[in-house]
């Protein structure tokens, strides 16, 4: 599964994208975030305010309780500030 990170999440983690191999227990978006946060200080910092982090599965906004299912791409980012 490909992960994309944007804005402050990208800066905290120190990369824009990577391929993840999460454990089978990571069923939902929240599970994946929890697992990622344990992958190092940079990840912990990125997901410190986990509730404010938005996620998209295959380029569609999802809530954190959404199942990862067979999604090929997941993105994490702070609240959007376009316009």
């Amino acid at each position: 599964m490909k992960a994309l990170y944007f804005a402050s999440v990208r800066e905290h983690i120190g990369k824009a994208e990577e391929i993840l191999a999460p454990p089978e227990e990571a069923v939902t978006v929240a599970d994946l975030m929890h697992w990622l946060a344990a992958q190092g200080e940079n990840y912990a910092a990125a997901f410190a305010s986990a509730k404010t982090i938005h996620a998209a599965l295959d380029r569609t906004h999802v809530k954190q309780d959404a199942p990862l299912k067979g999604a090929q791409e997941i993105a994490f980012f702070p609240p959007m500030t376009g316009g």
């Binding site: 804005a7 998209a56 380029r59 980012f77 702070p78 609240p79 959007m80 316009g83």
Partner: protein
Amino acid sequence: MSARIFVRVQKEPFDAPLEAASLTKGRSDIGAVVTFTGLCRDEGGALNALEIEHYPVMAEAEIARIASQAAARWPLEGIIAIHRFGLIRAGEPIVFVAAASQHRAEAFAAAAFLMDYLKTGAPFWKKQHFKNGASGGWVAAKGEDEAAAERWRAS
């Protein structure tokens, strides 16, 4: 839902006037065109530029989805939505939306709706660059923008 929808996400500046004119060119069934242009403010002279990061493909798709919602909600003849990314200097345009309809109320409502949802639902993030060389960091999302988007759900 016969509105013609044009969505673009681009690095280059755009010509808002020219874009708006394309909605009515050669037509005489449109009575109202409302446009919104959002520009980079210099924040009292302190800001040099905004750097806009975006999620390619999703940005276009999300804006198109919002435009389709507007077209389903109001009888519109045409919609334009353009959003830039990359470095945008103070005074330059960032975003442009236009809505054309037979009567004015629908064009006003649709343009405001498009902007409210673009602000909170399209994957763009702004970082400030100040004139003194400092980075002002990422612009924080505003509660009032969430509230503005929320009002369309209530009605």
